[in-house]
Symmetry: C2
Subunit: 287 residues, 2 copies
């Protein structure tokens, strides 16, 4: 089995790396990571820098908050690029800009390293349950090599296409999720003001064309007024920016995406950026 370096042990990365250990992969982590101790106790090896980690691994995975974090870890001093071995595979599972994913792919290619962009959907619950959706961009050969590793972390694993295609798909996912939340929030805010029983409404709408996982899960959150994340508005806001930048790059007018990004920004300005994204509802209510 290939030795895997895993960089980024946050809410998502930590359970994903633990699942790799459970599947008996050798895993290397960064010793300064927040959750490094938990991983080391579970059997991971620790290295002080990304360069040193990369020097010992067959596959290097990153799971970081933003485009700049990935760029830093890859190209910064003592970064992955400085250490990664010929024949190794680099996989970025973070959600970053498709344009950045393509730049990183190019940097890896120059060193003779194959790379995949493989962002995920499914949240902390999906990471823990190893049921993530994984959207993969890159070569067929790299995808096939990574597949057994992906299968330890996720269930719905699709090779979408060229380098960057995984990130484009993830951006599209976030656009749809954000706009569907806005749709459900507007409907629930109106129904509540009009005195309609929200639980009954949710029930009947789930049986028709308005059905969505968002209506099901986030509709329930809105009824129970449970806005504990889940997925924080400020993180979703970042993803909507990626979508808008990509829309601009390809000259596609994304009016709905822009509107919802604006709603998310308003929620952040009101101090609600750390609430679950279903709390966009609160912007439509006045108690």
């Amino acid at each position: 089995m290939e030795k895997i370096g895993f960089i980024g042990l946050g809410i998502m990365g930590k359970p994903m790396a633990l699942n790799l250990l459970k599947a008996e992969y050798s895993v290397a982590v960064l010793s300064q990571s927040k959750a490094a101790d938990a991983l080391i106790s579970a059997g991971a090896e620790a290295f002080p820098t990304s360069k040193e980690l990369a020097q010992t691994c067959d596959i290097v995975i990153t799971m970081l908050p933003d485009s700049t974090d990935v760029e830093q870890v890859v190209s910064g001093p003592d970064g992955v690029l400085a250490g990664i071995r010929t024949g190794a595979l680099f996989i970025d599972m973070s959600t970053i800009a498709p344009a950045t994913a393509k730049i990183i792919y190019g940097q890896m290619q120059e060193k003779g390293i194959d790379a995949l962009d493989a962002p995920v959907s499914g949240g902390q619950v999906g990471a823990e349950a190893a049921s993530l959706s994984i959207m993969v961009g890159g070569s067929e050969a790299a995808f096939n090599r990574a597949l057994p590793v992906f299968q330890v972390m996720g269930k719905n694993i699709v090779h979408i296409g060229e380098p960057g295609a995984g990130q484009t798909t993830k951006a599209c996912n976030q656009m749809i999720v954000g706009m569907t939340i806005q749709a459900v929030a507007e409907a629930f805010a109106l129904a509540r003001k009009a005195g309609v029983d929200l639980e009954k409404m949710r029930e009947v709408l789930l049986g028709g064309f308005a059905q969505s996982r968002i209506l099901d899960l986030h509709g329930k959150r809105m009824i129970e007024r449970n806005f504990t994340p889940g997925f924080k508005i400020k993180l979703h806001r970042k993803d909507m920016s990626i979508a808008l930048q990509t829309g601009q790059a390809f000259s596609v007018p994304l009016n709905g995406t822009a509107l919802v990004a604006g709603q998310m920004q308003a929620a952040i300005e009101q101090g609600n950026g750390d609430l679950d994204h279903s709390s966009l509802l609160l912007l439509l209510e006045k108690e």
Copy 2:
């Protein structure tokens, strides 16, 4: 079994009335209706006016295009109100403004007639297959009386609450459907321009939080570029107006609904009002 008068034999009303005949209800229709002949051949009785029809029926159902059509058929000369018998039940299954539904309920109450607003979702296919969702506003007693009749036309039948609650729920349904179409259209327009395989994207997104019936069915339409209705943009535009009026009446800001209503209006101005609502995609593309 109660005798049912059915007014409005359009794309939806005709199969609904035929299902009542199949279930061996006595059905009365208007002789000047477009599809009257088909219903008469199937065993329906015909009357020249809504008043005369109402005089012989236990339950009068309307299934008409718009609020003004229902007002006209109910309160106009030789209308339902002029003929409907004490103890009869009036059911409007059209999609109209909740405010109009409440006015009609009040007019019926004055004559001692019970009334329900019971709009449907599921389209022509659902009407023919007797699998409509039916969202009902009105008294518990009226709902229970109508239930066997509803069960002949639909499957997912929910008593939402007070008079008007059925129409409010339908407005919410149309808001969510419209905004979800816009969401899927923006994602597909972006992905297509970025060179992503749309079928693979649809597959992976259906496995995650972006899942919806719209992504499934209308996503398929967008990939196949099949914009034969289905549900026409110009009819959905009307429903979005109802939602916006209701939002204004209850002081709820419906920014996403307004945006999508605007997109629908733009499609109509471009001559595409008779296409399926999934063709909102066309506004985001420049060939």
